[in-house]
């Protein structure tokens, strides 16, 4: 069942636990921000997936265009020196 087309679309971001950043988990329909938040709670955090939710109107997101993929991302492709590969990461660091 798809959402009501008359209701605006919202993007949902969930933070799974303290210390991590919010991750995009999906989208949903809702009449306003508060309803979007409540719907997000029901749709995306029923199994304890998160401790914090953000909702953002989909229209507020400006996305990079697939047509510009090369211009946007290719130049970074051959610049390995930008990666911190010369450090050893301690075993205990879970999230980096």
């Amino acid at each position: 069942m798809s959402g009501d087309a008359r209701l605006p679309l919202w993007e949902v971001f969930v933070r799974s636990r303290r210390g991590l950043s919010h991750n995009h988990v999906g989208s949903l329909h809702a009449a306003d921000a508060e309803m979007a938040l409540r719907n997000a709670r029901d749709v995306f955090t029923r199994r304890m997936e998160g401790i914090s939710i953000w909702v953002v109107p989909s229209t507020a997101i400006t996305a990079s265009s697939p047509d510009e993929k090369d211009a946007f991302f290719d130049p970074a492709g051959d610049k390995a020196y930008r990666h911190p590969t010369f450090y050893t990461i301690p075993k205990d660091v879970q999230q980096l």
Binding site: G3, R38, N39
Partner: protein, 254 residues
């Protein structure tokens, strides 16, 4: 728990358990039928919360009434006249507005009830209440949000809300009824005092209705009897559907 017989206390937990179970089943009937995926999940989430509360209360009831019955025994192997839920929760889902009005009227009551029972002398009931109050807070919030949206929404949504209010309001009288058992139960803190519940329920519901531009209907009748096992016609059909599987295949599990 010292001055009230446990079998009397069991009546109190059974009433609450049946309220939860019956409402849970009604809400579950929305599964795959709600106006949007989002509300499909919301209503069935609430149904699961209510089911969880019912299960905990049936377990406690079995200890109190000494029958050692299982949750399934209470849910699937009792007949209509043995259910002591209020008639409000058994009312059919109707349109979305009807379900929302039923939610508003009942979850506001249930929220007040759980709040009172957090301090119950029955430690198990107090523990169930402490967990349930968080769920109830959300259920009430959900109902209030939709009531405001639909009441103060379009001409059609407003009309449907008023129709639903007129149909369901009479059933709220039963929530605050006092009978022979209530006095003892209230005196010992085992059950919430209906007068106190009404004192919380009425201003809250009226405040929401006012904000939603809805009017409290003038009611001339007050159906009653759910607590004594007397139910409205639709309840029998609901039970038939709910119990069918278990009765056709006794002891079935999955």
């Amino acid at each position: 728990m010292t001055t009230v017989a446990t079998d009397v206390a069991a009546v109190s937990t059974l009433r609450m358990a049946d309220d939860c179970l019956v409402l849970s089943h009604r809400l579950a009937q929305w599964s795959s039928r709600a106006p949007s995926l989002e509300d499909d999940v919301a209503l069935t989430n609430i149904a699961l919360d209510e089911l969880g509360q019912a299960r905990a209360l049936y377990v406690r009831t079995a200890e109190l009434d000494g029958t050692g019955r299982s949750e399934d025994d209470y849910a699937f192997l009792r007949d209509e006249r043995e259910f002591v839920n209020c008639q409000l929760v058994e009312q059919e889902n109707g349109d979305f507005a009807t379900t929302i009005v039923r939610q508003l009227l009942f979850t506001t009551y249930q929220h007040a009830q759980w709040r009172a029972l957090v301090g119950s002398p029955d430690e198990q009931v107090a523990a169930i209440a402490a967990k349930a109050i968080k769920e109830a807070t959300y259920h009430r919030h959900h109902a209030v949000d939709w009531t405001l949206r639909l009441g103060d929404g379009t001409e059609e949504s407003h009309r449907r809300m008023e129709t639903a209010l007129a149909a369901l309001w009479p059933f709220t009288a039963e929530l605050f009824e006092v009978d022979d058992l209530t006095a003892d139960l209230v005196a010992t803190g085992v059950a919430a005092d209906p007068a106190v519940l009404r004192g919380e329920w009425e201003p809250f519901v009226e405040g929401v209705l006012h904000e939603a531009t809805l009017t409290r209907p003038e009611v001339t009748w007050a159906p009653s009897g759910g607590r004594r096992g007397l139910h409205t016609e639709c309840f029998g059909y609901m039970l038939t559907e709910m119990q069918h599987l278990h009765r056709s295949h006794p002891g079935v599990s999955w």
